[in-house]
C-alpha cells in the first residue's frame, strides 16, 4: 500500500492501494500508515520523507464506505471517541517525525488527503489540469476531522481559511498556490526532484506551530481573528437558521482551538467532529447528497442489460425559456441541437439565450471565446420541422397545452427515424395522456427539466404507461450525457416534484386564510430550511398561473377535485385584488426598485387572528405537509425509489437540504413520532396531514424508509 524506496537517506513513500482506482483513507490504509510510522519513528539515519501517489489522484479523502459507516452507522459517543480521532493522531505523529517531510501532490488531494499534506512540512503540487486540493467536508455536513480546522488557519490565517473550510471549496493548483494551500507548483515530471531539493535545503524543518513564538498570520483570537469569527457566526446563523451544525462546529473549532496549542486544538476538533457524527444531519446529508446522488448519477434506475446510447444530434421544440435552456445544455454537452419554433426569429432568440449565458461565463473566466463559438456552432435555430431529420431525440418544451403539444408531437415525429425518442418537458400534464398524440408511445417519455436549466442539475424522468424499458434506458443515457442527475418516477398528475413542492406553497398560502401574520409565515419558511419563503415563492411562480392551474385541475378532475387551503387565497388575490405576482410587480409583496416589502393591504384582506402561532410550529407544518405528500407518492407507486425521492427533493426544489430529503427527514424523526405528530396536526389543521396507510403500517412495524 505504501511502497517504500530510499535514496541517499531520503525515503519516498508511494501510496498505491491495490484494486482501487484512487487512494483513500480506510481502516486498511490507516493501519498501513500506522505501521509505516512505527518503522520510521525508529530510524535515526533518515534525512527526509516524500509522500507521493502512484494513482492519478494523490489521496481522495475518506473511503465512501467508511464515510457511510461513520455517518450513518454507529452512534455511540464512547465508541466514536476511541475511533474517530485515528487519522488525526497519525497525522500528528507524521508531523513530529525528527526529519522533514514533503507532500509531492501529483493529483487531487481532498479532505483527509489534503489533511495529510497539511501535516507535512512542505507541499509541492504538480501543475496538472484537474488537480484539486481542499477540505470539502462541510458540504456533507461534516468537518475536516484530521486536523484541517487547526492547521489550515495556522498556516494561512483565520480569515482566508475559514471561508474555504465553511464552504468546502476546492482549488486548482494555481489558485491553491496563490492562497497558500500549497507552497510550490512545478511541472508534473519535476515533482519528485523538487521535493528532494527542498528536503536537502531544509534539513531541520519544523512546523511553524511547533516553534517558539508562533503567531497565527493575520491576527489571532485575541485580535482580528475574533472579529472574523463574530461576523462569520452572525452571517452563518443568518443564512442557516441553526439548521446546519457543521458550520457552527467549524466556527467553534476555530474560535476555541486557535487559542490553544495544536495538540489541544486537535482535541477540540475531535470533540466537534464526534458531535457531528452523532447528529442525524451529517448522516442524512451524506446519504442523499453523496451516496444516493452518486447512485442516481450512475443511473441506478436504468433497466439492466440494454446497450448504451450516445447522442450526437437532438431537437428541441419551443425556444422559450425552458427550450432555450435545454438547447444550451445539449450543445454544451457536445450535441448538435435543432432549436425549433414557430418562426425563425423566435428560434434565433432562443439561441441568443445561450450566447448571453456564454458571454457571462467568459466574463467570469469560466469559458473562452473558442468554447463559445463551438457551442453556439452546434445550435441550429429553425422553423422547419424537416430540419429535425436525423435527430436521435426530441425534447418538447412548448406551452403547457394538450392540443399544442399534440400538434407539435405529430409534426416532429413525421420527420424522425422510428427509433428516435420523444421527451416531453411538461411539469404537470400526465405523460400517458400526452403520449396519445404519439404514433409510437413506447418511445415517448417525460423529461422534466427545471428552470433555469443551465443551473438546475435535476431532470425528473416520467415513465408513461407505454414507455419501454429501452426508451427509459436511453433517456437516462441522454441525461447522463448532459451531466445532469436523473430521478425516475411514474406517471401521475404533478408527477413527484411539482406535486410535493406544491404542498409547501399551498400550506403557506393557507396560513394567510387562517389569519397568521405574513411576517411569521415567511420567517417560518426561512427557518424551515426552504430556499425561499412561501409567499415570496408564490409571487415568483405567479399567482395568476397558480390560480389558472387550480381552475384547470378542477375542470380535469370534475367530482374528484377538492379545493386546497390556497384556493380561496388565490381567488381573493388574483380575482378580487388583481395581484398576479412578480410579473405585474403586485403580489403578496410590493416590489420596489431594489427590494420588496409585504403588501400592507394583506392585513385587510386576511384579517389577523388574535392568537399567533410559533414560527417553529409553522416550519414543522411546511416540512410535514411535503413529507406526507412524498410518502403518498410512494404509496401510490408514483415514486419507485425513496433514494431518488430524497435526491430529487433537494436538487429539484431545494427541500431543506439538512434533512437529507423528505424520506430521510421522516426517518430522522422516527416514523412512529412522525405519524403521531402528523395525526395530531390532522386533527388540528385538516385532512392533508393525515398520514397515509403506508406510513401507519411502517410505523407499526418499526420500519424506516432507508433502514431496515
Amino acid at each position: 500500500m505504501f511502497l517504500h524506496s530510499e535514496t541517499d537517506h531520503i525515503v519516498t513513500l508511494t501510496m498505491d492501494m491495490p484494486e482501487r482506482s484512487a487512494n483513500v483513507w480506510n481502516q486498511a490504509s490507516l493501519d498501513a500508515f500506522a505501521a509505516m510510522l512505527d518503522a520510521l519513528e525508529q530510524r535515526e539515519d533518515v534525512k527526509g520523507l516524500i509522500l507521493h501517489s502512484a494513482k492519478k489522484t494523490f489521496l481522495a479523502g475518506a473511503d465512501l464506505d467508511a464515510i457511510e459507516a461513520i455517518a450513518i452507522g454507529g452512534k455511540d459517543a464512547e465508541e466514536l471517541h476511541g475511533s474517530a480521532g485515528a487519522l488525526s493522531e497519525l497525522l500528528r505523529r507524521l508531523e513530529l517525525l525528527p526529519f522533514p517531510t514533503v507532500a509531492a501532490i501529483n493529483g487531487s488531494a481532498l479532505g483527509g488527503g489534503y489533511e495529510l499534506c497539511l501535516a507535512c512540512n512542505h507541499r509541492v503540487a504538480a501543475d496538472s489540469p484537474g488537480l484539486q486540493v481542499g477540505l470539502p467536508e462541510a458540504q456533507l455536513g461534516l468537518l475536516p476531522g484530521g486536523g484541517g480546522t487547526q492547521r489550515l488557519p495556522r498556516m494561512i490565517g483565520i480569515e482566508k481559511s475559514l471561508g474555504l473550510i465553511m464552504e468546502g471549496k476546492r482549488l486548482g493548483a494555481v489558485e491553491a498556490l496563490a492562497m497558500g494551500l500549497v507552497d510550490a507548483v512545478v511541472p508534473a515530471d519535476e515533482l519528485l526532484s523538487a521535493a528532494t531539493r527542498w528536503l536537502e535545503k531544509n534539513p531541520a524543518a519544523k512546523q511553524p506551530w511547533d516553534q517558539e513564538g508562533f503567531q497565527i498570520p493575520g491576527g489571532d483570537m485575541d485580535g482580528y481573528g475574533a472579529q472574523v469569527i463574530m461576523v462569520a457566526t452572525a452571517m452563518f446563523q443568518a443564512k442557516t437558521h441553526g439548521n446546519y451544525p457543521a458550520g457552527k462546529a467549524i466556527l467553534s473549532c476555530f474560535a476555541e482551538g486557535l487559542r490553544l496549542s495544536l495538540d489541544a486544538g486537535l482535541l477540540v476538533e475531535k470533540r466537534y467532529f464526534i458531535q457531528l457524527l452523532l447528529d442525524p444531519v451529517a448522516g442524512a446529508m451524506v446519504r442523499t447528497l453523496f451516496l444516493n446522488l452518486e447512485k442516481a448519477n450512475k443511473l441506478a434506475a436504468r433497466p439492466k442489460g440494454l446497450p448504451r446510447k450516445a447522442f450526437s444530434k437532438v431537437g428541441v421544440l419551443g425556444a422559450g425559456l425552458m427550450g432555450s435552456g435545454v438547447a444550451y445544455a445539449c450543445a454544451k454537452a457536445g450535441m448538435d441541437v435543432v432549436l425549433l419554433d414557430r418562426d425563425e426569429t423566435t428560434a434565433k432568440k432562443g439561441k441568443t439565450y445561450s450566447e448571453n449565458l456564454l458571454n457571462k461565463r467568459i466574463k467570469r473566466g469560466r469559458s473562452t471565446q473558442a468554447k463559445k463559438q463551438a457551442i453556439l456552432g452546434r445550435i441550429h435555430p429553425s422553423a422547419a420541422y424537416s430540419d429535425l431529420s436525423g435527430c436521435q431525440l426530441v425534447v418538447e418544451a412548448v406551452f403547457e397545452d394538450r392540443e399544442i403539444k399534440a400538434e407539435v408531437t405529430a409534426k416532429a415525429e413525421a420527420q424522425l427515424d422510428k427509433d428516435a425518442l420523444f421527451g416531453s418537458n411538461t411539469s404537470t400534464l400526465p405523460i400517458t395522456g400526452l403520449a396519445q398524440a404519439s404514433s409510437r408511445p413506447d418511445r415517448f417519455i417525460g423529461l422534466h427539466f427545471f428552470s433555469p436549466v443551465e443551473r438546475m442539475p435535476l431532470v425528473e424522468v416520467i415513465v408513461g404507461k407505454q414507455s419501454s424499458d429501452e426508451c427509459l434506458a436511453h433517456a437516462l443515457d441522454f441525461i447522463q450525457q448532459l451531466g445532469k442527475t436523473p430521478i425516475v418516477v411514474n406517471d401521475a398528475r404533478g408527477f413527484y416534484t411539482s406535486r410535493v413542492f406544491g404542498t409547501y406553497i399551498t400550506e403557506g398560502l393557507g396560513l394567510l386564510a387562517e389569519g397568521v401574520d405574513p411576517n411569521l409565515i415567511e420567517a417560518a419558511g426561512r427557518a424551515s430550511g426552504m430556499p425561499m419563503p412561501p409567499l415570496a415563492l408564490a409571487d415568483e411562480v405567479g399567482l395568476e398561473l397558480m390560480h389558472d392551474v387550480g381552475l384547470q385541475t378542477a375542470k380535469d378532475l370534475g367530482d374528484a377535485y377538492r379545493p386546497n387551503p390556497s384556493t380561496p387565497v388565490l381567488q381573493r388575490m388574483v380575482v378580487e385584488a388583481k395581484r398576479l405576482g412578480r410579473k405585474n410587480q403586485k403580489g403578496f409583496y410590493t416590489y420596489h426598485e431594489r427590494k420588496k416589502t409585504l403588501w400592507p393591504e394583506l392585513d385587510a384582506l386576511f384579517p389577523r387572528a388574535t392568537a399567533q402561532p410559533e414560527v417553529e410550529d409553522l416550519a414543522e407544518r411546511f416540512l410535514y405537509t411535503q413529507a406526507l405528500e412524498a410518502a403518498r407518492c410512494v404509496e401510490e407507486g408514483v415514486l419507485p425509489s425513496v433514494a431518488d425521492g430524497d435526491v430529487g427533493a433537494i436538487l429539484g426544489w431545494g427541500f431543506a437540504p439538512f434533512t437529507g430529503g423528505p424520506f430521510s427527514y421522516m426517518d430522522g424523526l422516527g416514523l412512529k413520532h412522525f405519524v403521531s405528530r402528523a395525526t395530531a396536526l390532522a386533527a388540528q389543521h385538516g385532512e392533508r396531514f393525515q398520514p397515509p396507510a403506508l406510513l401507519l403500517e411502517m410505523a407499526a412495524h418499526d420500519r424506516s424508509f432507508h433502514g431496515p
Partner: protein, 403 residues
C-alpha cells in the same frame, strides 16, 4: 434592615473618548482615584475608615484591569485598611456598585462604603475585554447575539419609534444639557480633573453640541445599517423576532450615547457613621433592583427593573419626581417613558448621555450624583436612576432626598 444614607456623590466631567479628548492622557488609575480623593478630602475621611470601595468598570483589562478599585483606593489615600473591589454588569456597573455598597450597609455588615465607577473609553475601546457572548459561536448563535446598536434599532422598529421621534428626543437632550450649563446647575457635584502639577485638564463636560439642530440630526447616516445588513446581524435579530419584517435603522451618532472618559463615586453609610464623621444624610437609598430580560432585544430591561424597584419602595411611577434614564439610545428612554407613563418633563432634566456621553462603568454613579443634586436644587423628594444593560439586563435605584 438598616437605613443606608447617601452622604455625597461626586463625578468628574466627561471628556471626549478620543485621542483628542481632554482626559485621554490621564491613566485610568488616576481617573478612578480622582473622585475617591475628592470624597476623602471633602469629608476628611480618616485612613481605613471606609469599609469597602466598590467600583464598576466594563473593560477591566490592561491598565484598567487587575481590580482598579483597590489600587485606586490605595492611591487616593483612603488607607491600606480600605479594601476595594471592581465589578462589571456592563452599563449599569456604576449604579450596581452603589447598590452593592448600600446592600452591605443595609445588611449591617458595613458602616461606610464608597460605590462608584470609572471608564476611560479613549484608552480601552469597547469590547477590549472580549468575552464569549459575541465571539464564541456556540454562545453567539444560542443567544442570537447582535451588537447593541442593532438591538436599539430593533427596539425602535418593533415599538414604532420613528427616526424623527428619536432625533427629537436627542435634540431635547442637547437643549437640556445646554440649559443646565448656561445656568451653572451642571456644576453641582462635579469636580475638576487636574494633571500631576495641579493644572486643570477638564472642568466641564466636553461632549455636548449645544448648536445641534433637528435638520443636522436628520442628515446623519444610521450607524448600524451596514453592520446589520451586510454582516447578518439584522437577520439574526429577525430570527428571534419574526413578527418584524425588517429592521429600520434609526440610531446614529447624534441620537445614541457619546463615547467619553469619566469617573464618579458616592459615599454611603449608616446613621452611626454619619454622626461620627459629621456627614449629612442627604438622601436615603429606598430600593434597588436588577433584572434579566431577553438578550437579543437586550435594552428593554429598565422597564421591569423600574417596576420592581418601585414596588420594593412601595411607590408608583407618578410619585417619582425626577428620573435619570440612561440615554444609551433614544429609543431606550422613549420605551421606558411609554411603558411607565412617565411625564417627559421629569426625565433627564439636565440632559443625558446623548449630549453628555456615557462612560460605561461610571455612568450609573454619575447619574446618582446628578439626580441627588437636582433633587436638592428643586427640593423634590423621590428620584429614580435606571440603565439598560448589555446581554439583556436592567438596574434601577430609588432614592429619597432628606431635608
Amino acid at each position: 434592615m438598616g437605613d443606608c444614607f447617601l452622604f455625597d456623590a461626586l463625578r468628574t466631567p466627561r471628556g471626549r473618548g478620543k485621542a483628542n479628548g481632554s482626559l485621554h492622557t490621564l491613566r485610568p488609575i488616576e481617573l478612578a482615584a480622582t473622585p475617591l480623593r475628592a470624597l476623602r478630602q471633602a469629608h476628611q475621611l480618616p485612613e481605613g475608615r471606609v469599609d469597602d470601595v466598590i467600583m464598576g468598570c466594563v473593560e477591566p483589562v490592561g491598565e484598567q484591569g487587575g481590580n482598579l478599585a483597590r489600587i485606586a483606593a490605595l492611591m487616593s489615600g483612603l488607607g491600606e485598611g480600605t479594601p476595594g473591589m471592581q465589578i462589571n454588569r456592563f452599563c449599569s456597573s456604576g449604579l450596581d456598585a452603589i447598590n452593592l455598597a448600600a446592600a452591605k450597609v443595609m445588611a449591617g455588615q458595613a458602616s461606610l462604603c464608597i460605590g462608584g465607577g470609572v471608564e476611560s473609553m479613549s484608552r480601552l475601546e469597547m469590547g477590549a475585554s472580549g468575552g464569549p457572548w459575541a465571539t464564541d459561536p456556540q454562545v453567539a448563535s444560542a443567544l442570537h447575539f447582535v451588537p447593541q446598536g442593532i438591538s436599539a434599532d430593533l427596539l425602535a422598529t418593533r415599538y414604532g419609534y420613528s427616526r424623527e421621534a428619536c432625533d427629537r428626543f436627542a435634540l431635547r437632550s442637547q437643549e437640556k444639557a445646554a440649559a443646565a450649563r448656561h445656568s451653572g446647575r451642571d456644576e453641582r457635584g462635579r469636580i475638576p480633573v487636574t494633571d500631576r502639577n495641579g493644572i486643570t485638564l477638564l472642568d466641564q463636560d466636553e461632549h455636548p453640541r449645544p448648536d445641534t439642530k433637528l435638520e443636522g440630526l436628520a442628515a446623519l447616516k444610521p450607524s448600524f445599517k451596514h453592520l446589520g445588513e451586510r454582516y447578518g446581524f439584522d437577520a439574526v435579530a429577525l430570527q428571534r423576532y419574526p413578527d418584524v419584517e425588517r429592521i429600520q435603522h434609526r440610531h446614529h451618532a447624534g441620537n445614541s450615547s457619546g463615547i467619553v472618559d469619566g469617573a464618579a463615586a458616592a459615599l454611603l453609610g449608616d446613621g452611626e457613621a454619619g454622626e461620627a464623621l459629621q456627614l449629612k444624610p442627604r438622601a436615603i437609598i429606598r430600593s434597588f433592583a436588577s433584572v434579566g430580560s431577553e438578550p437579543c432585544m437586550m435594552l428593554d430591561g429598565p422597564v421591569e427593573a423600574c417596576r420592581r424597584a418601585l414596588s420594593q419602595a412601595g411607590l408608583s411611577a407618578p410619585e417619582i419626581d425626577l428620573w435619570e434614564i440612561n440615554e444609551a439610545f433614544s429609543a431606550v428612554v422613549l420605551r421606558v417613558m411609554d411603558e411607565l407613563a412617565i411625564d417627559g418633563e421629569r426625565v433627564n432634566v439636565n440632559g443625558g448621555a446623548i449630549a453628555l456621553g456615557h462612560p460605561l462603568g461610571a455612568t450609573g454613579a454619575m447619574l446618582v450624583s446628578t439626580l441627588l443634586h437636582e433633587l436638592e436644587r428643586q427640593e423634590k423628594r423621590y428620584g429614580l436612576v435606571t440603565l439598560c444593560v448589555g446581554a439583556g439586563m436592567g438596574t434601577a435605584t430609588v432614592i429619597e432626598r432628606l431635608d
